[in-house]
Subunit: 135 residues, 2 copies
DNA sequence: TACACTCGATCCGGCTGCGTAACGAACTGA
DNA sequence: TCAGTTCGTTACGCAGCCGGATCGAGTGTA
């Protein structure tokens, strides 16, 4: 079932979920790392460095380094492909699944709280301030 | 009206919106910068460095640097408070509102496409792989 | 006037990430 | 067997962000 979000709801959802992550002392992944992690866990395997690189339009070295980081966090594992030993398969881990599960709860919670009226609409820019810049 | 998102939808939503941002060549803001930007645009003003620091649990130098970055992107402006000239007020700009409006569209679009069946459930970890690590 | 306090910016050393280029290992096909 | 291709990684230089300490300007109070 599709999820209908108007602009205000979308921004409030993103803000609350993001703020929860920023406030917490958990590991803060870059946007690229998070995109890789989500792709690995929510798209059908197998996942390879080259495949992720093409899917997400990220350079291969960046993928490789991100896998280093995700690996040291215990969120993903490398495994050589036995049929083509040049290739490596990116595997999921229980720890990564737990992390994403908690993250998904944060997002869901941020969406659930949206019933309170949004105090400001963001799509509408504020009255244009005077042009003088202080800095 | 609250937005109900199950775990799979929440992760797919985040993945698609994030991937759209990663693939595009637009400026990539850090999670902290994005949280600041969203707070400034969706919460009632005024916003000060100190206030943002407390709200988001981010150090003041980090806020100040983020404002440098957002300022040079044209997404926010500093303005001295005339009543307390130590304090500065973070102001919105038309360019920032446009940026967030487009971002909100990306999120909404990611949510709207969720009607296609999700191929994998992420909350369920894969069958536990053998303990041997390749690397 | 003198002193304590607050606000935001800046300095500092360190860490992390990026893309290009170059690399070794593995595979392919003649 | 051997040149050419493809795979992921590493080397390199660069840029950005981090927190703690420190700073100057502004404020409040006596």
């Amino acid at each position: 079932m599709p999820v209908f979000l108007n602009q205000d709801d979308a921004l409030a959802l993103w803000r609350d979920a993001l703020a929860a992550g920023v406030r917490s002392d958990g590991p803060d992944l870059s946007a690229r790392q998070m995109a890789i992690l989500l792709t690995v866990y929510t798209m059908p395997p197998p996942h390879t460095v080259r495949g992720l690189s093409e899917t997400l339009n990220i350079s291969k070295p960046a993928i490789s380094r991100a896998l280093d980081r995700l690996g040291q966090l215990g969120f993903a594992r490398r495994r050589r492909d036995d049929y083509d030993r040049r290739s490596i398969e990116v595997q999921r881990t229980v720890k990564g699944a737990v992390f994403l599960s908690e993250f998904a709860d944060q997002v869901s919670e941020a969406g659930r709280v949206l019933d309170s009226p949004t105090p400001f609409e963001a799509g509408t820019p504020p009255e244009m301030p005077p042009p003088e810049d202080v800095f």
